[in-house]
Symmetry: C2
Subunit: 90 residues, 2 copies
DNA sequence: ACTTATTGTTGTATTTCTACAACAATAAGT
DNA sequence: ACTTATTGTTGTAGAAATACAACAATAAGT
């Protein structure tokens, strides 16, 4: 028999730019975690795409980085920022 | 004794423009719910600020309305769109 | 007055999110 | 070789998000 799914269905994984944004600013996960008041392991889960952040957390990250949420999280893969700025190969 | 809080703390309530956006488009909660594949009662909970959407749900709403998430949900109260467009009283 | 659509309320079930702890694995610096 | 910082892994616990159902309260239309 087919079990009817109750509760929250598993949403597709989410792409994120957290590692890039951290690297640009020289932040460890612990640094970022402290800045937005979460456990440092939560940052790890987010970077690996193991779960989606709450909207509250996403808004805090966006505020911290001074970016729109869509620049940090996306349902579709990100293209590298470096390419966006300098263009692709000639 | 002071019980140490484990799990997710209750984030502050979130302001939203869902009723306005629905009204502008003449959509019932059921209509919107169907469009983004959630239960119609979930829209009710969101409109009343009784809970925060997942980022996944917020992204689907933003995509549906063709707006940035920040135009739909905010930690600070929204000013009326009508005022934004036409300005305040003279 | 009747019907219908919309919204609110209450309750139960399940999954996800987040905290926290302990430890392994790397990498960097001394 | 030793220490330290950073990241990954595994496990437990508790709160929040969502589905679903049933019913009450309005409002609108006929």
């Amino acid at each position: 028999m087919i079990a009817k799914t109750i509760g929250r269905p598993s949403p597709p994984p989410l792409h994120n730019r957290l590692p890039v944004l951290r690297a640009e600013r020289g932040l460890s996960r612990q640094d970022l975690a402290t800045a937005i008041s979460v456990n440092y392991q939560t940052i790890g889960y987010l970077e690996r795409g193991e779960y989606h952040p709450s909207l509250d957390l996403a808004l805090r990250l966006a505020e911290y980085f001074n970016l729109p949420i869509e620049a940090i999280f996306s349902r579709t893969p990100f293209s590298p920022l470096s390419e966006k700025v300098y263009g692709g190969p000639a």
